[in-house]
Symmetry: C2
C-alpha cells in the first residue's frame, strides 16, 4: 500500500497506519478524520498515539501497551489511549494495521476477563460491550495487576453519571459556524404548516410543564377546546400526555394527533371530557370517523388495563380503533440482541436467511413501516387520525414521524429532517436517556431499547426505496446513530424538554446539527429531486426490506464497505461537468449578446452542485401492502 487518504472514516478498523494528522483537518471535516500514509517501522513507535486528533476539551487520561483480541485478525499488539471522550487503539505492527476509535459513550459494559490466576495466552484483560453492535476484548500482562488502573479509569469515564461526573457534552469546547439549537422553533414550524387557523390554536398551557412534564411547552389543540378541558383530559391520559396536533394536511386539513393511552383501567372507566375532546379533533375537518391507531398488539393493550391503562372502547362514538401490532421496547431490545449475535463478530453464512428471519428484526421494521403507511394513507385521503401506544413516546414517535416523512416533503430535506427529529422525538419526550443509558453503568437496565435505531433503520429503508426523494444521505443516518451514543452533543441527552431545560442543554452543550449544518455537503444526496406534492408509500413487505448491512455489519472487514457507490460518483462527476459547462457558457455569453444568451435564464437549472433539473410530474406511487 503506498499512499491512501481516507476522509471521514470513524471508529472503523482501518488497514493502514496513522502517520500524521492535523487538527485543522479534523476541524474542517468536523469528525475524527485520519490521514494515513505509509510509515517506516522505526518512526512508527515514536508516533504511536502522538498523532490522535483530540477534540477541544478532550484530555488524555491514560495510555498503555495492550493486546487487542481482534475477532478478524487475532491478537494484535499495540497501544491504547483513553481520554475523557474516547478509547483509541492502534497496533504497533505495521503489517497488521488496526485502529479502533470508540467514543466512551458507545460503551455499555466493561468487565474484567480472566482472574489473577487465569491461564492461557491473552486470557487476562478487559471485555467491553458496545452499544453499536460490537464487542472489544483486550488482553494485558498478568503481572502487577496491570489492568486495575485502566479498568477503573475506563469504568469511571465511560459512565460519568454513575460517578457524579458530567457528560462529555458539557466538557467539550467545540465551536461551529452554525448554531444547531436554532434549527427547530415550534411556532415557526406550526406556521409553516399553516397553524394556527380557525380550527386549531396554539396553547402555552404547558409553559411550566405543569400540564404534562414530558411534553414540550408549545402545543396545538382544537380551537374549540378550553384550557380546563385540556386539564381534565390530561387526568385521563397516561402521564398527562393529552392528544395534541403533530401535523396537518395543507389541502384536506386532516391531522395527525398523538397522545398516550386513556386511563381506562380494569373497571373500564369513561371520561366524557376525553370523548368530547376527541370528537372536537374529528370535527375540525369534518372527518366522519376518527381513526385511532393503537400501535400495540391487541393483547398488550388489554393487558395494560391491569395497570390502569387501556384503549378507547365503543363509548368513543364516531371513532374506530385499529391495533397496529407493534411489539414493545423489550421485544425490540431482544430482537436487536439476536441480530448482533448473528452478525458480530462472525456472520452466520450457511443459514443466513433463516437466522436473519429468526431475529424478527426485519419483521418489526415491516410492522412499524406498515403502521406508518396506514396513518399516512388515511390522512392523505382526508381523514384525521390519533396515534398512541402506552405512553406515546416510543412507537407513537416512530409512527407519527414516519408518516410525516411520507406525507411532507419538507421533512425529507436535510434541515426538515432535523426539525422532524427535534419535534417528534426530542420535544415530545422520547426517553433518550433511559433508552440509551447515557453515562450510566447500569447496562442491564430494562428501560434500554433501540427504538430510535429502529426508526432510523425505517428511514434508511425508505431512502433505499426512493433514492431521489431525500436530500440527505446514508452518512447522515450513520452519523446520527453514532452521535446518539457518543455524548459529544447535547441533542440526544435527557428524556424530555423539562429535563433539558433543567440541565441547560441549549446553553451548555453543542447541538449535533451544529456539526451537520457546518458541513452540509457531506450529508447531501446528489440524486435528490425535490417533489413537493408527492406522498411516498414504501413497500413494507419482506421482499423489499433489506438488512442495513452498512450499519449493522460495518465492523466486519469482510463485508464490502459501500463508501460511495460508483453510480453516485459518476453522477457527481456529471453534475460538476454540467456546472463547468454552464460557467463557460455564461462566460462566453458575457462577451456575446447573441440569442443563445437567453439560455442562462430560461432552460437551465440552478448551478449549485446539489440542484436538480426541473422537477418531473410524478404520480403518487401507491403500492398495495
Amino acid at each position: 500500500m503506498t499512499s491512501l487518504m481516507l476522509i471521514g472514516v470513524r471508529y472503523y478498523h482501518t488497514w493502514s497506519i496513522v502517520k500524521k494528522i492535523s487538527l485543522e483537518v479534523c476541524r474542517a471535516v468536523g469528525e475524527i478524520t485520519l490521514l494515513y500514509t505509509h510509515t517506516s517501522r522505526e518512526s512508527l513507535k515514536m508516533e504511536l498515539l502522538a498523532d490522535v486528533c483530540l477534540l477541544p476539551g478532550e484530555d488524555r487520561i491514560i495510555d498503555k501497551d495492550i493486546i487487542y483480541i481482534c475477532p478478524f485478525n487475532g491478537a494484535v499488539k499495540g497501544k491504547v489511549l483513553i481520554t475523557n471522550y474516547r478509547l483509541h487503539f492502534k497496533s504497533s505492527d505495521p503489517d497488521v494495521p488496526v485502529t479502533l476509535d470508540v467514543p466512551l459513550g458507545a460503551i455499555s459494559r466493561v468487565e474484567k476477563m480472566g482472574g489473577a490466576s487465569s491461564r492461557g495466552e491473552n486470557s487476562y484483560g478487559l471485555d467491553i460491550t458496545c452499544k453499536d453492535v460490537r464487542n472489544l476484548r483486550f488482553a494485558l500482562k498478568q503481572e502487577g495487576h496491570s489492568r486495575r488502573d485502566i479498568f477503573e479509569l475506563l469504568f469511571r469515564h465511560a459512565f460519568p453519571l454513575s460517578h457524579g461526573q458530567p457528560l462529555f457534552a458539557y466538557v467539550t469546547q467545540e465551536k461551529y459556524e452554525e448554531n444547531g439549537w436554532n434549527v427547530y422553533k415550534p411556532i415557526e414550524e406550526f406556521r409553516r404548516q399553516g397553524l394556527p387557523n380557525n380550527k386549531w390554536r396554539i396553547t402555552f398551557i404547558n409553559k411550566n410543564y405543569e400540564l404534562c412534564d414530558t411534553y414540550p411547552t408549545v402545543l396545538a389543540v382544537p380551537y374549540k377546546s378550553k384550557e380546563e378541558d385540556l386539564r381534565r383530559v390530561a387526568a385521563f391520559r397516561s402521564r398527562g400526555r393529552i392528544p395534541v396536533l403533530s401535523w396537518i394536511h395543507r389541502e384536506n386539513q386532516a391531522v395527525i394527533v398523538r397522545c398516550s393511552q386513556p386511563l381506562v383501567g380494569m373497571s373500564g372507566k369513561r371520561n366524557k371530557d376525553d370523548e368530547r375532546y376527541l370528537d372536537l379533533i374529528r370535527e375540525a375537518n369534518e372527518t366522519i370517523k376518527l381513526t385511532i391507531y393503537d400501535a400495540r398488539p391487541n393483547v398488550n393493550a388489554v393487558a395494560n388495563k391491569a395497570t390502569g391503562g387501556g384503549y378507547e372502547g365503543d363509548e368513543y362514538q364516531n371513532a374506530e380503533l385499529i391495533f397496529l401490532d407493534i411489539q414493545n421496547i423489550h421485544v425490540m431490545r431482544e430482537s436487536l440482541k439476536k441480530l448482533k449475535d448473528i452478525v458480530y463478530p462472525n456472520v452466520e453464512e450457511s443459514h443466513w436467511l433463516s437466522s436473519l428471519e429468526s431475529t424478527h428484526w426485519l419483521e418489526h421494521i415491516k410492522l412499524v413501516l406498515s403502521g406508518a403507511i396506514q396513518v399516512a394513507d388515511k390522512v392523505s385521503s382526508g381523514n384525521s387520525v390519533v396515534v398512541h401506544c402506552s405512553d406515546g413516546w416510543d412507537r407513537t414517535a416512530q409512527l407519527t414521524s414516519l408518516a410525516m416523512l411520507m406525507l411532507d416533503s419538507h421533512y425529507r430535506t436535510l434541515r426538515g429532517f432535523q426539525v422532524l427529529i427535534e419535534k417528534e422525538w426530542i420535544s415530545f419526550g422520547h426517553k433518550f436517556a433511559s433508552r440509551i443509558g447515557h453515562g450510566d453503568k447500569n447496562h442491564a437496565d430494562q428501560d434500554r431499547s433501540p427504538i430510535f435505531v429502529q426508526f432510523i433503520d425505517c428511514v434508511w429503508q425508505m431512502t433505499k426505496q426512493f433514492p431521489t426523494a431525500f436530500e440527505f444521505n446514508e452518512r447522515l443516518l450513520l452519523t446520527m446513530l453514532d452521535q446518539l451514543y457518543s455524548c459529544r452533543f447535547g441533542t440526544f441527552l435527557y428524556n424530555c424538554e423539562s429535563a433539558r431545560d433543567h440541565h441547560e442543554v441549549r446553553s451548555k452543550t453543542v447541538s449535533l446539527w451544529s456539526l451537520v449544518n457546518s458541513k452540509m455537503d457531506m450529508y447531501l444526496n446528489p440524486f435528490y429531486t425535490p417533489e413537493s406534492g408527492r406522498v411516498l408509500y414504501p413497500v413494507a413487505s419482506m421482499r423489499h426490506l433489506e438488512l442495513w448491512v452498512n450499519y449493522y455489519i460495518r465492523w466486519n472487514p469482510r463485508i464490502r464497505q459501500q463508501q460511495q457507490s460508483p453510480v453516485e460518483q459518476r453522477y457527481k462527476e456529471l453534475l460538476a461537468l454540467r456546472d463547468e459547462y454552464l460557467k463557460k457558457l455564461e462566460e462566453l455569453q458575457l462577451s456575446d449578446s447573441s440569442p443563445s444568451s437567453r439560455l442562462a435564464n430560461s432552460s437551465t437549472p440552478n448551478t449549485s452542485s446539489t440542484s436538480s433539473t426541473p422537477s418531473q410530474q410524478y404520480t403518487h406511487l401507491h403500492t398495495p401492502f
Copy 2:
C-alpha cells in the same frame, strides 16, 4: 386513468385496455408493444383482439370467449387468441383490464382441468404451466365440449416438434437492419485475444465435427500438440470434449481451458496422452501447478466412475484438483421449482426469508459465482486453469463464462456479451434444446434444467454489485430469458453447432442479436463506465446476493415493478443536459475564436449519450470470499 403509453411491456399483466396498436410501433420497438388509451365500453367489444400486433409470418389459429382464472383478480371474462406464435388474452370488462401475451414456446405443459361431469363454477377448462415461472388457468363453458378444439390446437402449436411441425423461428418473416449472425466470428475473437501465438495454435481438426460432434469447428490448442494427440485425448474425454483454450490473459498468458471429465472409470484407467496434453497446457505459460477445477461435488465425481467417468488423480503430476461443489442439473431444476412454489401465484410473506433459504436457489447461485471467482483469481495471478464437470456443457459453461466476464471487460459490453454467449454457451454445445425442451411436449423430461437462467441470474448479481461496469442493462437479461423460450429466434435452438448447421439455423432463422442490435439504445446502461483493465470480483456471500425479483416475481402485480429507477432517469436527464450545453458551447465557439474554444478539444468527453467522463484509476476490488 386517462392516457398512458407503455413501451416495451411484454407478457405482463397490464391494468389498462388495449385500444389501438400499429404495426409500425411494434416494428420500431422490435417487441410486442402495446399502446393503451382509455376506451369506451361500446367500442371495446368491437376492438377486442382486433388490435393485437402480430409478427410477420404469425397467423391466427383460433379465438374464443374464455374466462381467465387470474390468481390476483379472480375469474376474468374475455377473449383468447391463439396464433402459431402466441396465446393472447384480453379481458372484456374494462374495470378489470387484464392482458396476457405468452409466446407458445414458453408453455411447458397444457392439461385439461375438470372432467365433463365436473361441477363448481369455472372448474372446466385448461391448466397451462409455463417455463417462465407462472401458471395460467382458463375456464370454458361446459356445454358442447367447448374446450376440445382449443386444447388440441394449443397442444399442437405449443409443441410443434412433437407434431412434425417447424418451430416458429422457421416461420417468422421478421427483418432487421442488422444481421445478428455476424456478431460472433471465432477466428476474430481468438485474434482479439492475441491468438494464435507461439504457444497456442488454431486447429480445424473438428471442421466436420469428427473429433467431437458437440464442439465448434474452430478450436485453440497448445502449439506443441499434434493432431493425433488431440484424437487420442478425445478418446479419453467424455464425448470427445478435449481440453481446449477458451480465454487467454493478455499480460500473463495464463489460460482458461475447458473440457469434459476424463474416462477414468471404476478401474482407474490412465491415459498418458491426456496427462502429457494437460502438461503442455501448463507449460505454455510456465505455470508451476496447473489447477483443475472440477465443478462437481467430490462425491458426485467419484460416483461418475461407475459410468466410466471420473476425475484427474495423482497421476496428473504438476496439477492440483479442486472440487467446486456445484450440484447437477436435477438439483438445480428442483431448486427453481421450489422457488416457483413460494413466489407464484402468491408470495409467502410470513416466513419469506426461511422459505427462500429452503429453496437453496441463492445458495446455488453463490456456489457458481464463488467457483467462477476462484477461476478468475487464479488466472489473474498468472496460473493456467482447466475447468470441467461431467460433460462440460452446463456447470463448465457457467464457470468459464462468468470467470471471463470478471476478467475481460470486453465481455461486459453489449456486443462483447453476445460474443461470450455465442462462444461459451452456443458454440461449445450447451444443450439448449434438451435443457429448455423447445417445441417438445415431454414436460417431465429429466434433461430439462434452468442452467442458463441460473447463469443469467449470476450475471444479474454481478451487475447489481458493479452498477457501472456493464454496458448492457437488466432489460437485456430479461429479453434474453424471454427469447430463450419463445422460439422466435434461432439463437438458442438446438444442442450444438453441428445440429444447428444441419438445420440451417443461420440461413433460415433470425438471430436474437438482430433484434437487440437494431435497437441497442433500449439495452444500454447509462451508468456504464468503461475500465478496460479492471477485474471484477463480486462478493459471493448470502448477505450480498439478492433474489432477482424483477424476473422471478414479475407476474405478481403486488410487487413493485422497477421499470426505470428514478436515479437512472435523473442520470439520463443530466446526460442530455450535458450534451445540450456542449452543443451550445460549440455553436458559440463557432462564432467566437476566444481561448475558451479549446474546451471542446481538451477537457470534454465525447458527446454520445452512452459516453463517460475520463475513466478513473481504479484498483482491483478484491474482496475475500
